[in-house]
């Protein structure tokens, strides 16, 4: 757990907060002859993330986890509610402030391949956010470029890829390698909050452990906070301090991970905990 001392967790300031988020999708009718339908993906969702801690979001497939992630980062309009980052309402920021805020709010996407530009080299993808515009002498620019390249290579190595991979294109990587490219891209910016959507679901157990340890290490180094979406309750147990359980667009249970694991209150949570695969054979 990232904040060993529960006292610390209680006293930590809230860095990201969502109040009463509602998001509805409209589904048009089509060839199979059904009318248009409304899908309430988020139904009055509120949560708060404490600085330097990890909040896991678990729940059934289709329960609204990725929608929540996108709304938290303002990548998606929502019907009502608000998202506060360090107390400021993100929707009320002008385009400029929102852009500078973006650096502090990063996302690791669920579908790694769809989120990597196939025409860019991995070094460019990971380094993109680091590009510092503005004036400067030619030699200053050159120094910055070298520094950026360094950072990118170091980050690639930390996620278990090699510096030489910077020159390759996304399609030259395996599924798990692509997932790690997405993680490197988010972490290289040294953000304050990272929303990770199933960040280790495609990784073998060794690389998974390596990435989880890296996330914890960076959390210690830089006071990072994570929203950690995962359906793997074994992973959640290791990485998260607090958790929320979503079901059909609503949060049905929330609290400290230890408490929920020891005494799940809701039937759905109990079902989740008892369905961890491998138990049957064990």
């Amino acid at each position: 757990m990232s904040i060993e001392n529960l006292q610390n967790l209680e006293n930590a300031p809230v860095i990201l907060q969502a109040n009463r988020l509602v998001k509805t999708y409209t589904q048009s009718s089509g060839r199979f002859g059904f009318g248009s339908a409304q899908i309430k993906a988020l139904d009055d969702v509120s949560l708060s993330l404490k600085a330097g801690s990890t909040l896991a979001v678990v729940g059934e497939s289709g329960s609204g986890k990725s929608t929540l992630a996108r709304c938290l980062l303002q990548l998606h309009p929502f019907d009502s509610g608000e998202v506060l980052f360090e107390g400021k309402d993100l929707a009320k920021l002008d385009a400029n402030s929102l852009r500078s805020m973006r650096k502090n709010l990063q996302m690791v996407f669920q579908d790694p391949f769809a989120s990597l530009n196939p025409r860019m080299r991995v070094g460019e993808i990971v380094g993109e956010g680091l590009l510092i515009h503005g004036l400067g002498s030619a030699s200053e620019k050159k120094n910055r470029a070298a520094e950026q390249k360094n950072k990118v290579q170091q980050m690639l190595e930390r996620v278990g890829l090699s510096a030489g991979d910077a020159l390759k294109y996304p399609h030259q990587f395996s599924g798990g390698q692509r997932q790690r490219i997405g993680i490197a891209r988010a972490l290289v910016l040294q953000p304050k909050v990272v929303v990770c959507d199933e960040p280790v679901s495609a990784l073998d157990v060794s690389v998974q452990a390596q990435i989880l340890l890296l996330l914890k290490e960076l959390q210690h180094e830089m006071q990072l906070s994570y929203i950690f979406i995962s359906h793997d309750l074994r992973v959640v147990r290791h990485i998260a301090d607090e958790m929320v359980v979503m079901h059909k667009g609503k949060i049905v249970e929330q609290g400290k991970v230890v408490d929920i694991y020891n005494a799940p209150q809701q039937a759905y949570t109990q079902q989740l905990l008892s369905a961890i695969p491998g138990r049957k054979a064990a």
Binding site: R31, S61, Q177, S206, V207, A209, R234, H238, R279
Partner: protein, 282 residues
């Protein structure tokens, strides 16, 4: 027992770097009514092996070796003959749903496509079959009208599963088919596949990094490491008495449900010693 699929001397290399083996000298066979799981490190060649069997390697890569399906070397077939086998006799679930779903067609249409092409289903018969498939993978039937990007990650994955089993293939190749699914839905899908295996005597090649899943569904296990198959055996042999140093190291990384075990990636220095000992012994 007669094998349904046998691969021999399978090699995969980049066309522009024919000495770099991404898959090296792979060989195994699959029997009807049995599930064989492939496990192994990220980037070890699991997906490339599956894609080679399907004849779907990307244009930059080339393969040698034989793939005998029902007595016929399918690497020698032309594309038209292969297409008749793909989808109808060999189903495949790809690791990244978005790269294999067509974004401009509804998912109902895409599930129906192979039923029309291979079984000649049309009209209300087709509609009923598509709805039944959606139901079996736990997606509300009205979502047949959705486009892939209107679905959640796990819903897309389940659409792929519905497509792959639509024609009740004799062999199903599944590449990390449940990575995006929560445990309750995962359990439902694993049960569905297991049922097909028993009822249709289907053979299944199942790539996963989740040892809980292996424990639940595998009959046999293949372990890949750096492009090579380093161990094969029954589930019991491989999980209880692993022989190869890599298998031992990998099993030591499996997280426990209680979160008591420390997260620890493979110690490659230690593994190297183990591999050297093995070489010396040989």
């Amino acid at each position: 027992m007669t094998e349904i699929l046998t691969i021999n001397n399978l090699n995969v290399t980049p066309k522009n770097d024919p000495h770099r083996f991404l898959v090296k000298d792979a060989a195994f066979s699959l029997s009807p009514g049995k599930t064989t799981c492939i496990v192994g490190e990220s980037g070890s060649g699991k997906s490339l092996t599956a894609l080679t069997i399907m004849g779907l390697l990307s244009a930059q890569l080339q393969s040698t070796g034989s793939v005998i399906f029902k007595g016929e070397d399918i690497t020698l077939l032309d594309n038209k003959a292969l297409q008749k086998i793909r989808g109808a006799k060999i189903g495949m679930i790809f690791q990244e749903p978005m790269t294999s779903l067509n974004p401009v067609l509804t998912v109902g249409y895409q599930i129906g496509e192979s039923l029309t092409a291979h079984l000649g289903l049309k009209g209300s018969g087709l509609k009923l079959r598509v709805e039944s498939l959606l139901q079996q993978v736990g997606i509300p039937i009205e979502r047949a009208n959705s486009y892939p990007d209107e679905l959640s990650g796990g819903q897309r994955q389940r659409v792929m599963i519905a497509m792959s089993i639509a024609c009740e293939p004799a062999l199903l190749i599944a590449d990390e088919p449940t990575t995006a699914l929560d445990v309750t839905v995962q359990a439902q899908i694993l049960q569905l596949l297991d049922e097909l295996k028993t009822r249709m005597n289907m053979a299944m090649l199942f790539i996963t990094h989740d040892f809980g899943v292996v424990a639940d569904i595998a009959d046999d296990v293949i372990v890949m490491f750096r492009g090579e198959i380093v161990e094969t055996g029954t589930k019991k042999q491989v999980l209880d008495k692993p022989q190869h140093p890599y298998t031992k190291a990998l099993l030591a990384c499996v997280p426990d449900a209680e979160g008591k075990k420390q997260l620890k990636p493979i110690d490659y220095a230690w593994l190297k010693d183990g591999l050297n000992d093995k070489k010396a012994a040989a």
